[in-house]
């Protein structure tokens, strides 16, 4: 398949769930997510590839040359953030489908490779409708409990199980047995663009953790209660938000990110001083020590805020994700492929979580990045050019070819 046919498909898919400002909104297991899955299924059906859906909604298109052999899995996710960008996730799945199509044509003219191929759309990578993120691949890899995840609810009380049934993608099919995994994704950061390099070979993920923070003050009347008599949960929580942001200034630039994306207050009435605020802080750094130092500084500073405002602030660690190293063999494959294509490549960390990080826990994984204009993501102005995307599809195709030959194996 040509670059043109890839670009045609990519831009057609980007019209599904499109927003006026150039982004997309297709959160997990919504009607828009179903439309993308139907498109994926039709792509496979046109080529005679069997499709499987597992019990957490992961979707696989199988390209089989050796009955009974294991599979090289290649893919990413089709779901998006609310008002998200059109590249995050979808690019990697569409690139994987086109890589598979090119490789199927190549095999038809020669010897079958060692492994079969499966293109995958992982369920709910984004975690915006159903927390936590990276759900489908983590269940696949045995890192999260499937029954527990099926019971997770969205803000309307709908469970993952109900939402998957509603769109017809709660399957019962056997999962393809993986031998290795490959994924391509936009960088979502500024490094490749700044250095003018076409490809990144991801060498490791950042250390990440979340803090679940509950601020318990006292509800009172915004008009009638004197300032000295108040224990305002929102004022204290606001200081926590600023502390979470400002702690990054204690470290080297670009070595750490930290922010609060989720916050709710009760009772949230314009004339009532809030009694309770619940917020989630997300801290990530390129070394565990940095996250741990930032966490210790925050705990100390948050305790001071609680004392100052005479209220309770409970802080709980969760979703701790250690640094994952991607195998050296995969990095070398990526570098060889880039050299053959005449494309620049560098090794790079990923600050964001990815399905590849979960898969790398059970099979050797290879992850490629292409540049993000201005380094932005999870927003409508996320952008990568057609030329940059085309190089990525070529690189993913050749890297997958190497994996199909058994060049990236656990025992090496």
């Amino acid at each position: 398949m040509s670059t043109e046919s890839f670009l045609t498909d990519f831009h057609q898919v980007a019209a599904i769930g499109a927003t006026p400002a150039g982004g997309v909104e297709r959160q997990a297991a919504t009607p828009e997510d179903k439309q993308l899955r139907d498109w994926f299924t039709a792509f496979a059906a046109e080529r005679g590839w069997p499709v499987r859906v597992d019990s957490i909604g992961n979707l696989f298109a199988l390209v089989e040359w050796r009955p009974g052999a294991d599979y090289v899995l290649v893919g990413s996710h089709l779901d998006s953030q609310p008002l998200g960008g059109r590249f995050d996730g979808a690019y990697g799945v569409i690139a994987a489908l086109h890589a598979a199509d090119r490789l199927a044509a190549r095999v038809a003219r020669g010897e079958p490779p060692k492994y079969n191929l499966a293109v995958v759309d992982w369920f709910n990578e984004e975690g915006s409708r159903f927390a936590p993120s990276i759900m489908g691949s983590s269940v696949f890899a045995g890192l999260m409990d499937e029954q527990e995840m099926l019971r997770v609810t969205d803000s309307d009380g709908i469970t993952v199980a109900e939402a998957l049934e509603a769109i017809g993608y709660r399957g019962t099919d056997e999962r393809p047995k993986p031998a290795a995994y490959a994924e391509i994704h936009i960088e979502q950061g500024p490094v490749l663009e700044r250095e003018g390099i076409a490809l990144g070979a991801v060498d490791r993920s950042w250390y990440t953790q979340k803090l679940d923070v509950e601020v318990l003050g006292e509800q009172s009347h915004t008009g009638a209660t004197a300032m000295a008599d108040r224990r305002d949960a929102l004022v204290a929580a606001s200081k926590v938000v600023v502390l979470v942001h400002d702690v990054t200034a204690d470290f080297e630039p670009e070595s750490i990110v930290s922010s609060v994306g989720y916050l709710t207050l009760e009772p949230n009435s314009p004339i009532v001083v809030p009694r309770r605020v619940h917020l989630v802080a997300d801290i990530r750094a390129n070394a565990p020590e940095i996250v741990q130092q930032a966490r210790a500084l925050l705990l100390e500073r948050i305790a001071a805020v609680a004392r100052e405002h005479d209220l309770t602030i409970d802080v709980r660690d969760f979703d701790v994700r250690p640094v994952q190293h991607f195998p050296e063999q995969g990095l070398e494959i990526a570098e060889k492929v880039a050299a053959d294509l005449g494309a620049g490549i560098r090794r790079i960390n990923t600050m964001a979580g990815h399905d590849s990080v979960a898969m790398n826990r059970i099979v050797p994984a290879l992850m490629l990045f292409i540049p993000s204009v201005d380094g932005v993501s999870h927003c409508e102005r996320e952008f990568t050019s057609d030329d940059q995307m085309a190089i990525g599809v070529d690189a993913l195709t050749e890297a997958t070819w190497e994996l199909l030959q058994g060049e990236l194996e656990a025992q090496r």
Copy 2:
């Protein structure tokens, strides 16, 4: 009726919508609000008093001695904040019903007064489910548009009109024509308790206004976007919350209150830097100049936050409520009644809004306070003792008797 029968009724009503921590939750036009209204209606029916419901859900029990004469209105509101106290509002309505019962017995033994009497439960004083607050009395007084208010929705999209119909309290009855208004309420502040005085005669309301603040940043990935590339709407909004709180320190203690009770963010996903925050600040002071100075300081400081974070912060004034003076004649009536009862009384400002402030725009109004333990309100530990409540019922009864004789009239 005796003090005992008042206290029995008060504590029975406090059990409706009771919360485990000793408060109540009966927001406007909920099933709990309906239960209180049904209790009010039954109280009137037992005494043969006709009940009227107007088209914004205000509920009136009429005690008529002179067909065709105007009415002295006496009452407050039965709705509460979420997890509110059992005294705020309900005390004033139950006190008014008992005052009416005592006066009906007094008139049965003597000459009818100049005016008829109507006890009123104003719809939606709290404004927590349907904004703005003080809705029923403001529509009655012609200060808010009835059709507009009927279209106001709660967070589930239910309109005031639908909610009133659902509980069977959207009426079509003619409104009683008012000659004067009386109300008793808990202070919701610390003054009476601190000074050990049984009664407050409200001489004026505070100047109040709200600021509607919208912070517009840019949505991005909490993990992958470098700190320098972010325009985080929540960090900027948190600084605004702290500024709104801290501006009070620029003025005399207890001359001003200022806070944010309402805040929402979008998209509110743990791994997305927020793009938009909407919040409402509430500023009140005992003089207009203080609110205006605080507002000017805030506008300047908020603009600096917008510049610092390279984002847009729009601030809009709304719900400006000028200082209202209660008539001198009413204060003198309150002082005479207290002296006759041997109870202490002082003149006092109200920091909170009340139905009496709206009614005072169209007829002369008299408002009494009784103490609030610790000065707290809009919370479950709101408290006033039985003895303090009993003095208030006696004072309201005698003050209403004066009003029924025409002692507080517009033309005086």
